[in-house]
Symmetry: C2
Subunit: 106 residues, 2 copies
């Protein structure tokens, strides 16, 4: 039997048991996020290599504007703060640029 | 028929078609990330409300240390930079604290 607490608190659950249940869900979601991010960076690595091979411009302001608009709309639908979604994309793109600079140096 | 390009580039694909395929994958992954983040903030909102109701301490350094160690290990397995995984968690927690402060003010 697994020792992992269930997510849904029982009606008579103590605050500690309820907290443990929420944290188990957060841990599951975080594992999924990490694996999706790993896959995303595999894609952007391929993009970086393609751009380097064909001397395509590293930045594409139109593409980035489309991504921001799309993520803000998705966030709104999912009841996530659109401003946070935009900050999140900027955070990821910052890391992608760091990777692309590393590819360019090799 | 969908106009969305396939992810795997055909052997004779032009660089533009290959790039469009990678970008379609990135967009799919971003949609999944946004929805998982929305779900994660639902969990941390419940945690914030629980902590407020039972006057539990808002920060828990032990829990945070466990999360960092776990996410670094998951990242390593997924070939994602563990330092990035740690930065990512810090970025998310910063937003969670902002939400909890907003709950505390209401």
């Amino acid at each position: 039997m697994s020792q992992t607490p269930d997510t849904t608190p029982a009606p008579d659950a103590t605050p500690d048991a309820t907290l443990a249940g929420y944290r188990a869900s957060i841990d599951n979601i975080d594992a999924a996020l990490i694996h999706l991010l790993a896959e995303r960076f595999k894609c952007t690595k391929r993009v970086g290599e393609l751009k380097a091979t064909y001397s395509l411009p590293p930045a594409d302001p139109n593409r980035e504007a489309q991504q921001i608009a799309r993520l803000r709309a998705l966030a709104e639908n999912a009841h996530l703060d659109p401003a946070f979604a935009e900050k999140f994309l900027a955070f990821i793109i910052q890391e992608v640029i760091r990777h692309h600079e590393a590819i360019a140096r090799t």
